[in-house]
């Protein structure tokens, strides 16, 4: 797969229409790098594993809009049963994109995720009740899968392999500090979404 996380998110941004977007981990960084400040975006942070369920709640509350969740493989593993929760709740407007890079702390420490190779997330999503589930091996396949997902009814799963940057933490950069905003942005963004939807 020749796409990186930023490209995956940039393509989604161009195709989203009025969809709500939930992102986390690498996808969150990618949307930030794109300068995306849409009032319909929320970053699930610092709450690893929560993106799909946050998206499920939004999808159930607002069935008239697509909800797109950009998840990470380690994040999905933390709440793997969430695939079943989504499948059983059967939202009609749910698009779950998995950016699978096989590591945690991508670009910082690049630590291998459990099952970094060979875990069949696509089959798991299908078995959990998603209405469609595909793995994309090219940009063209990803664009087509996303377009189809945004047009069809149900809970749709799309996996894309993305790479990661070399680790930055090391002897010359021994630590990184979290900003205050990292702890408050999720609540602020959820409130912004609520107000935006009320006003629409």
């Amino acid at each position: 797969m020749s796409l990186n996380a930023k490209q995956v998110c940039e393509i989604a941004q161009s195709m989203r229409g009025d969809a709500l977007i939930v992102n986390t981990m690498g996808a969150m960084n990618a949307f930030d790098q794109l300068g995306s400040n849409s009032p319909l975006n929320v970053s699930c942070v610092p709450l690893m594993g929560g993106a799909a369920s946050l998206g499920l709640g939004l999808a159930l509350a607002r069935p008239e809009r697509a909800v797109m969740v950009f998840d990470g493989d380690a994040s999905l593993l933390m709440e793997l049963g969430g695939l079943v929760s989504v499948g059983q709740a059967a939202p009609k407007n749910f698009v779950h994109v998995l950016l699978n890079n096989g590591v945690q702390f991508a670009g910082l420490g690049n630590l291998p995720t459990p099952g970094a190779s060979g875990v069949d997330f696509v089959s798991m999503a299908k078995a959990a009740g998603y209405t469609s589930s595909v793995r994309c091996d090219s940009e063209e396949e990803y664009r087509q899968a996303l377009a189809a997902a945004l047009k069809t009814t149900g809970a749709k799963f799309i996996e894309v392999d993305t790479g990661y940057s070399p680790a930055t933490l090391g002897p010359s950069v021994p630590a990184v500090e979290m900003t205050d905003a990292r702890f408050t942005r999720m609540g602020d963004e959820l409130r912004t979404i609520r107000k935006t939807l009320e006003a629409a």
């Binding site: 939930v22 929320v42 699930c44 610092p46 709450l47 594993g49 929560g50 369920s53 946050l54 998206g55 499920l56 709640g57 939004l58 999808a59 159930l60 509350a61 607002r62 709440e79 049963g81 969430g82 079943v84 929760s85 059983q88 709740a89 702890f183 408050t184 999720m186 609540g187 602020d188 959820l190 409130r191 979404i193 609520r194 939807l197 009320e198």
Partner: protein
């Protein structure tokens, strides 16, 4: 030990009436043994409240937050143990995020000899640690120890939405089955 359960059980209908007065449209849950009567009532055809069954309590909290952002009011039904398991999600969304989280949590494991007494004096750690833990997290709570406490259902719910914070309604004994629930 034989007890008169009617002294301690709040019927499911009282919950449903209070939820409807509060405008609750959804429940997110990993089912709680003490709340089986309420869960069953919510699953009946014609229920005005949709129950979303999740596979973990973290998901129940997160889905509730998403529903809130979408404009809905939600009750989160879990067990005391389930709350313990979901603390990080409550911390992220409710405490740091200041999202309303109205949590109804059953005191699973409470010995019957403790009914009518202070739950903090229960022999069972999972029971007696709940209130101190909520206080440590600065989460206000209301006890539901008998039908006399029914008003606390709305008080706990209103406090969550007006204060934009997590609150807990602590269900001290099994929710009662209504006569109409008998098939």
């Amino acid at each position: 030990m034989t007890i008169d359960h009617t002294k301690y059980c709040v019927p499911a209908s009282a919950f449903l009436e209070a939820f409807e007065r509060c405008g609750i449209e959804y429940v997110t849950t990993v089912p709680d043994m003490l709340q089986i009567a309420l869960h069953s009532a919510l699953e009946k055809p014609g229920s005005k409240i949709r129950s979303i069954n999740c596979s973990t309590e973290d998901q129940a909290v997160e889905t509730a937050a998403g529903l809130y952002a979408g404009g809905k009011k939600v009750a989160i039904l879990v067990q005391n143990q389930g709350f313990f398991a979901a603390i990080n999600s409550v911390r992220a969304l409710g405490l740091d995020g200041r999202i309303p989280l109205f949590m109804v949590m059953g005191q699973f494991g409470r010995e019957w000899s403790n009914l009518g007494q202070d739950p903090r004096s229960s022999k069972r750690l999972m029971v007696r640690m709940l209130e101190p833990l909520l206080e440590t997290l600065d989460i206000p709570y209301w006890r539901l120890e008998s039908p006399d406490d029914v008003k606390n259902i709305e008080l706990a719910c209103d406090a969550a939405y007006q204060g934009s914070r997590p609150t807990a309604l602590i269900v001290g004994h099994f929710v009662g089955f209504d006569a109409s629930s008998v098939d």
